[in-house]
Amino acid sequence: MIALLLSPILVPLVTALSTSLLAARPVAQRRLGLVGITAFFACAAALLAHVATEGTLRASMGGWPAPFGIELVADPLGAAMVLITALMGASALVFQLSDADAAPSAPSLEPLVHAMLAAVSGAFLTGDIFNLYVWFELMLVSSLGLLAYRTATRQLDATLKYFVLNTVGTLLLLVGIAYLHAATGHLGFGALSEAARDHDALRLAPFVVMVALAFLVKAGAFPLYAWLPASYHTLPAPLLALFAGLLTKVGVYALLRVLGGVFVLTPSLVFEALGWVAAATMLFGVLGAAYHWDVRRILAFHIISQIGYMLLGIALASREGHVGTVFYVIHHIVVKANLFLIAAIIFRHTGSYDLRRSGGLYAVRPGLAALFAIPALSLVGIPPLSGFWAKLLVVRETLAQGRWGLAAIALFVGLLTLYSMAKIWFGAFWKKHPDEGWRPAEGAHLGPAYLATGALALVTLYLGLAPEGLVRLAELASAELVGGPR
């Protein structure tokens, strides 16, 4: 069982290191990467199955008992997040086999991707705040590597912004952890949570806020999100899908873990403030989406806006709110990654990510239009797709708490999201292609692309039509969250 608990971290780590040893043999490297991701996916699925039936799995590494050694914990939340991570990795690597804006091959590509997956898994499974920091660091380094490996000027510019702003966040996290340790003497989530009970919550609050700020930077919350729209659009599609699907959500996850679980006693004024941060994140994010014409930039701003909803669920500081956030996060990862991947197929056909220079796809590629519509409508929150239930859970709790202002903003942002998504629909699908002689790309190698996006669309459909399972899981996850993963 301990092996099962560890496997989602070790398998991608071993894959990352061993693919890097195969740097000189690209074909073997790619194959090993596919084997690795398959194994990762199998392990993650087995782990979630185990956790769902047998309950939370925990083990203290090195055999040193809980507050002293580093504990790894696979509770329903963590296990579910790990599975979704594996799903994202698999989709991205399958998509990479197509020729729709795939990442140019390079020896460092596979190792960096798998290292990033390992880091994300590690962040989801650790029960120790410093260990969490280590995984954040690995995530930062591997994402920087992926941003920069093509070394064109615009990528380097993006990398610099990503690096500096994320490093500020990482430093905040490190300092916050240090102070928390100084104040409580602990690093494990369980021990921290117990220690927090013995201390005056208001005295401890500045340190918790410091850590929370770091996670907000990672999550891309207002006004800390500048790194995201400055960098994401420079990535090739499969990597972009991975970044967009996973990275910001690790921030949300960590925030949920810390504010919703470990330091659940944090004074309400913090949550009050977080609510308005969430509202601003929604609003300014979607305004960015309404402004841009590049599909990738629109979708990148949508991430921010949607992060706002997830933060709102945390800010509500109730079990129902947490259920909403958990559901939202999982739904959103699938949908967002899929949208970026489909955008790449659109790009392959129309020749541009810029909506002003694309079009005509609805007439000639209705299947692609339908494929796009599933995640797009889901993101907007149209029933009966997954995004609707996510939004419903969050908004319902907001209304139940009588937070009218926040609920109104959440709904208004829904309208603007609809507006900006319709913009993509008009630009890429409905309007005629500005080039008269335009034809969709013939002979494009899109089989793997359709396989990956189709599978993700099916997940979205399933979560929309039969959300009961995920809602249950989210309830289970939130129930274990409060009181810390002890």
Binding site: S18, S20, E137, T151, P267, L287, L377, L399, L415
Partner: protein, 925 residues
């Protein structure tokens, strides 16, 4: 069909997709059978999402049945009509698919007995409507109309969601029946008023009530079958249906009555006034639909017994005359290519069936006796008379009736009957699929008019579902005032009809100021959204990294300040002045850190800045040393050196390339940044003092020091923590280090290769050195093995004395760096076992593997195993700890050593042979 046509080609045969009509037909038959057999109300319930409290509950009562019959009945004919109308049109298959989807959504919506489920279908009708309105999506106007419909109904849908959620919150259930049954218990809940407002907005947007009425005529961009089906007969009635559904709970509420009657009444009058402005046949019909919807809303809001019956009757009647009129308009459009009433006349002879259908439907619409429209209007009048409360409503009703009369005349008499020159000449009847449906529906209107008792039971039951109980017969027999009223209305109607064109010309002088036009508001919103978005986004995402960073820091400071301000007063730990040698040393190191930090901010030259920042690090190392942490100090020291080496090499290269153009910054910029830095520094320092003032739980440190020797077999606690207690952290870190190298290689190569200008002056290489360099070279050759050997010693003794894998690795890195400077990076890299990249990756794998044996023994990962290996002459202590630490050593050496060497290589001269630039072991494609 026997009519001779002026054009040679016969009408295109109907599309075979028309057979899809059998689907709604079958459903229609099923629904009818259920009603006739008295199975209504029917209920089906399935658990769907119990955790959210949503049930897949459907309930078919008389109210739902009226709509189901409409949806399937009109649906059947719409499918048939579409087969004729869309014959030969590209992508008609999509239209049919969407129509089927729409029909399913509609049926779901009117039968749902769960408010959330109802909302699900409600939104689906909006989406399908959007896709259908935009069917001719190549046209900008089509897209605009579709967008308008989507934004209005979609936005209304969001508001409705809030309303529905609030209602469910107040009622404690999502089941419609349970909600209505328990209504008196929760109708006073404080959120109900707000919930109703939201529901109103949702219903008004869907049913095109003022001020959301303008999207409906826009939606006429859709093909005619769609207009007839969605935007006249069924979808737009959803809002009305929802209000009717909730009527039993709120019918007596004053707020409910006033809102519905005033909005509905105003819409019905306003809609009719707007028909006069139009010349397009379809738009005339659209505005009269808006007016009819207003009438329906008003009827629901009217108190009294008869209103509900009237609403049910009019709902049916309107569908029965308006759908055929749309079909007729479509046929005219097909036959003539125009829908402008000025260009049409005398079509009756050319299109006998269409004109017959038009006449019959027109009679209904005009409210002529014997037609069902007449019966319905009669009922309406009686119902209105029933309530003394809203007398003025009767006048509005009279006007609307008269205007309907006139509009019906325009839509029929004028284009079919008027004798004036036949235009256009080539008009002809289409295929049977185009004229049979309107004829059938319209005739049904007459049949019901002749025998109203045929539908009486259905309509009365439907009205009962709305909570009122007057039978239609009761209302019909009470016709004391209705004949004279009818005469008056007809007179007014004829006057309006005759004066139509004149009125049209007159109204052009009365333009509403844009402020009062709802459509203008919408347009302003559609202009405003991108404008505001552009403003805000360009201001927030302006592209300056330094400003972004300032955002983050300012926000962090503000957030921390906010929390601290609300917290208890900060307690700074008591400060005791003690002067011993340690304190003096610590004070000295601190002073050095301070001075160096200030210097970093003040110096301008980047190279000096780098060196001074290196000083900060070195002073930190000293501080650690004085505080009794030699391991940490040593690590800090070596890392700092490596950092300076890497950065210095890169800086040298960058300078040589003349890439850096430092912008001249304004004074306020520098000042504000300085203030911000000071603020951040002060906050960090202050919070540290606060953190130190807590009473820390010492159990962790005590545990580590007490268990280190007996259980972890190591006297150096720092190393034991690194390789044992928190080995997973260390594993993560060495992988970070390895990945850093992998990630950095492409960048360093870029720096080395991309800007390889021919005029870039070459630095002295290994050959042709100055005497001084030669001495250095010789010295390093001797030093290299010594450093490596000592690194191995540091590695091996690390578990008990200061040292360990990380520090040892850093010493090896220093050795490699020195060798690179002296003899060139290639030489140094070649000396690394396996090459840097493989060394790092293999070592990291080794460390990882050292934790695995425990798993086979059922112990957690990284549980270290100890044993002794007898060698005959002595015993060797072996453990997985050592393996782990060797891995750490190799990873640090490989990755950071490689990084240093590669960085130094950046500024080395190139050799012409490209194969020598990149070694085989390298991460190079």
């Amino acid at each position: 069909m026997s009519e001779p046509t002026t054009t040679p080609t016969p009408p295109p045969p109907p599309s075979r997709l028309g057979w899809l009509a059998l689907l709604p037909l079958a459903l229609f038959a099923l629904a009818l059978r259920a009603f006739l057999r008295g199975d209504v109300p029917l209920e089906v319930r399935h658990a769907w999402i119990p955790s959210v409290g949503v049930e897949a509950a459907f309930r078919l009562d008389a109210l739902a049945l009226v709509l189901v019959l409409l949806i399937t009945g009109i649906g059947t004919l719409v499918f048939v009509y579409a087969a004729g109308y869309m014959a030969g049109v590209k992508h008609r298959g999509r239209l049919f698919a969407l129509l089927v989807a729409f029909m399913v959504a509609m049926l779901g919506c009117v039968t749902a007995d769960d408010v959330i489920l109802l909302f699900v279908f409600w939104e689906l009708t909006s989406v399908t409507s959007f896709l259908l309105v935009g069917f001719k999506h190549e046209y900008e106007t089509s897209r605009k109309s579709a967008q308008q419909a989507l934004m209005i109904t979609g936005g209304g849908g969001l508001v409705l969601l809030a309303g529905v959620l609030l209602l469910a919150h107040a009622a404690g259930t999502t089941s419609l029946q349970a909600m209505l049954a328990s209504a008196p218990a929760w109708a006073e809940h404080p959120v109900v008023r707000g919930a109703l407002t939201c529901v109103f907005i949702g219903a008004f947007t869907k049913s095109a009530q003022f001020p959301f009425h303008f999207w409906l005529p826009g939606a006429m961009a859709a093909p005619t079958p769609v207009s007839a089906y969605l935007h006249s007969a069924t979808m737009v009635k959803l809002g009305v249906y929802l209000l009717a559904r909730l009527h039993p709970a709120f019918g007596d509420d004053r707020f409910w009555q006033l809102t519905l009657v005033s909005v509905g009444g105003f819409t019905s009058v306003w809609g009719m006034l707007l028909t006069i402005r139009e010349r397009d046949l379809k738009r005339i019909l659209a505005w009269s639909t808006v007016s009819a919807l207003g009438t329906l809303v008003m009827l629901i809001g009217l108190p009294g017994e008869g209103a509900a019956t009237a609403a049910a009757a009019f709902l049916l009647a309107h569908a029965l005359y308006k759908a055929p009129l749309f079909f007729v308009a479509g046929n005219v459009d097909l036959a003539t290519g125009t829908r402008l009433i000025d260009e049409l006349s005398g079509l009756g002879r050319k299109m006998p069936f269409t004109s017959a259908a038009g006449w019959i439907a027109g009679l209904s619409m005009a409210g002529i006796p014997l037609s069902f429209g007449y019966v319905a209007k009669d009922v309406i009048k009686a119902a209105k008379a029933d309530t003394d409360l809203f007398q003025w409503v009767a006048y509005a009703g009279a006007f609307v009736s008269a205007a309907s009369f006139a509009a019906a005349g325009i839509a029929t008499a004028r284009i079919f009957w008027r004798k004036r020159p036949l235009r256009p000449e080539h008009a002809r009847e289409g295929s049977i699929a185009t004229w049979l449906p309107p004829l059938l529906v319209a005739s049904l209107g007459i049949v019901f008019g002749l025998f109203p008792e045929r539908v009486e039971s259905l309509l009365t039951e439907a009205a009962q579902a709305m909570g009122s109980a007057a039978s239609m017969e009761e209302l019909l027999t009470d016709d004391s005032a209705s004949l004279s009223a009818l005469a008056m209305i007809i007179a007014l109607g004829v006057a309006l009809f005759l004066g139509w064109d004149r009125l049209h010309r007159v109204q052009r002088h009365f333009r509403l100021p844009r402020v009062y036009q709802a459509a203008a508001w919408y347009e302003a919103m559609m202009v405003g959204i991108p404008a505001v978005a552009s403003r805000v986004t360009r201001r927030l995402q302006m592209g300056h990294l330094s400003t972004y960073t300032a955002f983050v820091l300012v926000f962090a400071l503000a957030a921390l300040g906010y929390v601290v301000a609300h917290g208890p007063a900060l307690r700074v730990p008591p400060f005791e002045l003690a002067l011993g040698p340690t304190e003096l040393a610590v004070a000295g190191a601190t002073l050095a850190i301070l001075c160096a930090s200030v210097a970093v901010c003040v110096v301008r030259d980047s190279f000096v800045m780098l060196l001074v920042s290196g000083l900060v690090g070195l002073a930190c190392a000293l501080l650690f040393l004085f505080l009794g942490a030699p391991d940490v100090a040593f690590t800090q020291f070596t890392v700092e050196v490596a950092f300076v080496v890497v950065l210095a090499s890169i800086l040298l290269r960058v300078r040589r390339l003349d890439l850096v153009v430092a912008p001249k910054l304004p004074r306020w910029h520098t000042l504000s940044r300085a203030l911000l830095s000071l603020g951040v520094g002060a906050a960090v320092a202050a919070l540290m003092l606060v953190g130190a003032s807590f009473e820390q739980d010492p159990s962790l440190t005590e545990y580590f020091s007490s268990r280190s020797v007996p259980d972890a077999h190591g006297r150096n606690v720092v190393n034991v923590v690194l390789v044992d207690f928190r080995a997973v952290d260390t594993l993560g870190e060495i992988i970070v280090v390895t990945l850093t190298f992998i990630a950095a290689v492409p960048l360093l190569r870029l720096l080395r290769e991309r800007w390889r200008g021919p005029d870039a002056p070459l630095r002295r290489g290994a050959r042709g050195m100055s005497p001084k360099a030669h001495i250095f070279d010789v010295a390093v050759r001797g030093l290299y093995p010594i450093l490596l050997a000592s690194s191995v010693v540091i590695l091996l003794r690390g578990h008990n004395e200061p040292g360990g894998g990380f520090i040892a690795g850093m010493v090896a890195v220093a050795a490699t760096s020195m060798l690179s400077v002296a003899r060139g990076a290639r030489a140094a890299l070649a000396k690394m076992p396996l090459g840097p990249h493989r060394l790092a990756a293999t070592s990291a794998l080794l460390s990882l593997a050292s934790g695995l044996p425990a798993l086979f023994l059922g112990e957690p990962f990284m549980t270290h195993l100890w044993g002794t290996l007898p060698l005959g002459f002595t015993e060797l202590d072996v453990s997985t700890v050592l393996v782990f630490d060797v891995g750490v050593y190799g990873a640090v050496w490989g990755a950071l050593g490689g990084l240093c060497a590669r960085a130094i290589e950046v500024d080395e001269p190139h050799r012409d042979d490209p194969s020598t630039v990149t070694g085989a072991e390298e991460v190079t494609p």
